[in-house]
C-alpha cells in the first residue's frame, strides 16, 4: 500500500509547535508517527520530563477516548523513551482548512457534527485541552480529534468550558466573517447530546472564564 505512494518514507509531513509528524510505513500500511522533539529553549531536566509525561498522557487519553467511541486515530505503537508513538493514518484536511472552501451548508453540518463529537467526549469524562479547528481532521465529513497532548480526565464544567472557549477563539481568529454561524452550529450539535439546559450552563461558564481574563471590561 505504501509503495503506491511512490515516495520515500518516513516523510516529515508536519512540524507542529511541539512535535514532528511523520508519514511512515507500518507493516505494509500507512501510519503516522508523532515524535515530541527536544526544545532548545528548555533546560534538559524540564524538557525530557515534559515530553515523556505528555506522550504517555496523550496515548492514554486517546485510548480511553477510543474505548468511549470517540473518533480518534487508533494507537499502534508507543515508545516513551523516544517520546513518540505510531497511530492510524487519517487523511485530512484539517477542519480549519476545509471550512475555508466548503459551502455554507456543509460548513454548518461539519461544525454541528463537531459539537456532537466534543459533547460525547465530555460525557465520557475527557477534555481535550487544546481544542482548535486545526486539531480536527475531516475525512470526507467523518471527523477525527487529534492532538490530546494537553488533554485530561475531567468532569469539571470549568475544563469543558475551556475547551469551548479555545475552540470559539480559534474560530473567531481564523474565520472572522462566519464565526458566529459556525460556533452556533457547533453549539447546536453540542446541545443535541447534552441537552439545552447543560448547553446553557456551559455557555455561561465560557462567558465567566472570559470575564476572568485580565482587564475585561464589565459593561
Amino acid at each position: 500500500m505504501s509503495e503506491s505512494l511512490g515516495e520515500r518514507l518516513p516523510k516529515l509531513i508536519y512540524r507542529g509547535a511541539e512535535a514532528e509528524i511523520y508519514l511512515q510505513d507500518w507493516y505494509g500500511e500507512l501510519a503516522i508517527r508523532k515524535n515530541r522533539i527536544p526544545k532548545p529553549y528548555r533546560v534538559t531536566a524540564l524538557d525530557s520530563t515534559i515530553r515523556r509525561t505528555r506522550t504517555l498522557h496523550e496515548t492514554n487519553l486517546m485510548h480511553e477516548a477510543r474505548k468511549a467511541g470517540i473518533p480518534v486515530p487508533i494507537i499502534q505503537h508507543l515508545d516513551p523513551e523516544d517520546s513518540s508513538f505510531v497511530m492510524e493514518y487519517v487523511k485530512g484536511p484539517t477542519l480549519k482548512d476545509e471550512l475555508y472552501v466548503v459551502p455554507s451548508l456543509i460548513r454548518r453540518r461539519r461544525c454541528t457534527e463537531l459539537g456532537r463529537v466534543v459533547a460525547r467526549m465530555h460525557e465520557a469524562g475527557l477534555v481535550h485541552g487544546d481544542l482548535t479547528i486545526s486539531n480536527v481532521l475531516s475525512d470526507n465529513g467523518k471527523l477525527f480529534l487529534i492532538d490530546f497532548g494537553l488533554g485530561d480526565f475531567s468532569n469539571e464544567l470549568e475544563d469543558r468550558g475551556v475547551d469551548l472557549l479555545l475552540l470559539n477563539r480559534a474560530m473567531k481568529s481564523t474565520h472572522v466573517k462566519f464565526h458566529e454561524e459556525i460556533f452556533g452550529a457547533f453549539l447546536k450539535g453540542y446541545s443535541m447530546v447534552v441537552g439545552r439546559k447543560r448547553k446553557t450552563e456551559i455557555v455561561d461558564k465560557v462567558r465567566e472564564i472570559e470575564r476572568r481574563g485580565r482587564y475585561s471590561e464589565r459593561t
Binding site: 512540524r15 507542529g16 509547535a17 511541539e18 526544545k39 532548545p40 529553549y41 528548555r42 533546560v43 531536566a45 524540564l46 520530563t49 515534559i50 485541552g129 487544546d130 481544542l131 482548535t132 486545526s134 494537553l150 475551556v162 479555545l166 477563539r169 480559534a170 473567531k172 481568529s173 472572522v176 476572568r212 481574563g213 485580565r214 482587564y215 475585561s216 471590561e217 464589565r218
Partner: protein, 313 residues
Amino acid sequence: MTEEGKILTDVRDVYASKPGTGIHPREAADHHSEIAAKVVSGALLEAGVTGGQLDGVAVALGPGLGPCLRVGATVARAIASCFEKPLIPVNHAIGHIEIGTLTTGAVDPLVVLVSGGHTAILAFSGGKWRIFGETEDITLGNLYDMFAREINLPSPAGPQIEKLATKSSNFVPLPYVVKGNDVSYSGLLTASLAKLRSGASLADVCYSMQEVSCSMLTEAVERSLAYTRKKEVLLTGGVAANKALQKKLAEMVVLHEAVPRVVPHPYTGDCGAQIAWAGMLALRAGETAEIADTRVRPRWRLEDVRIPWRTTA
C-alpha cells in the same frame, strides 16, 4: 513625536515603590501629579516645540490604575483645551505594540506583550488585534513582582530576579502549566515561595522560576506561531527587557523560520513615546475625542480598540 515617527523627546519620571511593598495607587497618583508639570515642560523644551505647534495631545486612558490614569487624563485635557488641540485617546497596550513596530520595523508580527498588566500573544486580523493566548491568572510581570515583594526586593523586580537567576544553574522542579495557547502562573508563584521556605537557595529558585515561566510563555508563543504561520515575532512591554525570555524566544522562532524582533531598551517599559506614536497613528486616521469622551478606562481590553491605520490581513 513627529509625523514620520521620529522621537523628539521621551522625558520620564517613574514612581518607585518601597521594597517589600507593591505599587500603592494613591502614592503613585500623588507622584504623577507632583511631577506632571516638570515632565510636560521638560518634554516641550527638549523637543524644541511650543504648545501651539502640537498637532494633538495623545493620552493613555487605560488600562491601568484608575487614580494614576486620572492624573494623566486631567493633564492632557488641560493642555488640549489650553492650546485648542484635539485629544487622542490611546490604549496603553496598543502603545506598547506600536512603539514596537516603529522601533523594530516589524510589519505583520505575532506580538508577545509582556508588561505589568499584560501577558498576551496577539496577531492583527479583521481591523483589530486579536488575542491568541494570554495568562489565565497573573501576568509574568506580576509573578516576578509578587515573588519579589514576598522577599523584600523593590518593584519592578524583573532585573533583580534575572540577576539572581544568573548565579545558579541548579534546576529545581516547579509546576509548568500551559493550556492551549494560554499560560497560568499562580501555581508557579505559590510553589516557588514554598520551595524557598523549605530551604532551597534564592538563586536556585529564581533561576528555576525564570526558566519555567519563560519556557511556558515561549511554548505558548510557539503554538500560536505554528498556528498563525507568521514570519515575525515582536516582543514588547516592560518584561521584554528580560534576557532569558529574549534568548528563549530567539531560539524558538528560528525553528519556524521566523525572525525575532525585540523592542530596544528605553522603549520596552511604559513611556510617553509609545502613547505619542500610537496617538499619531490614530490622529492621522481621524480618531480624536471630545473632552467629555475621555473618561479613563482602567479595564480597557486592547481587542476592543479599532485600528483603522493598519491594513495587513
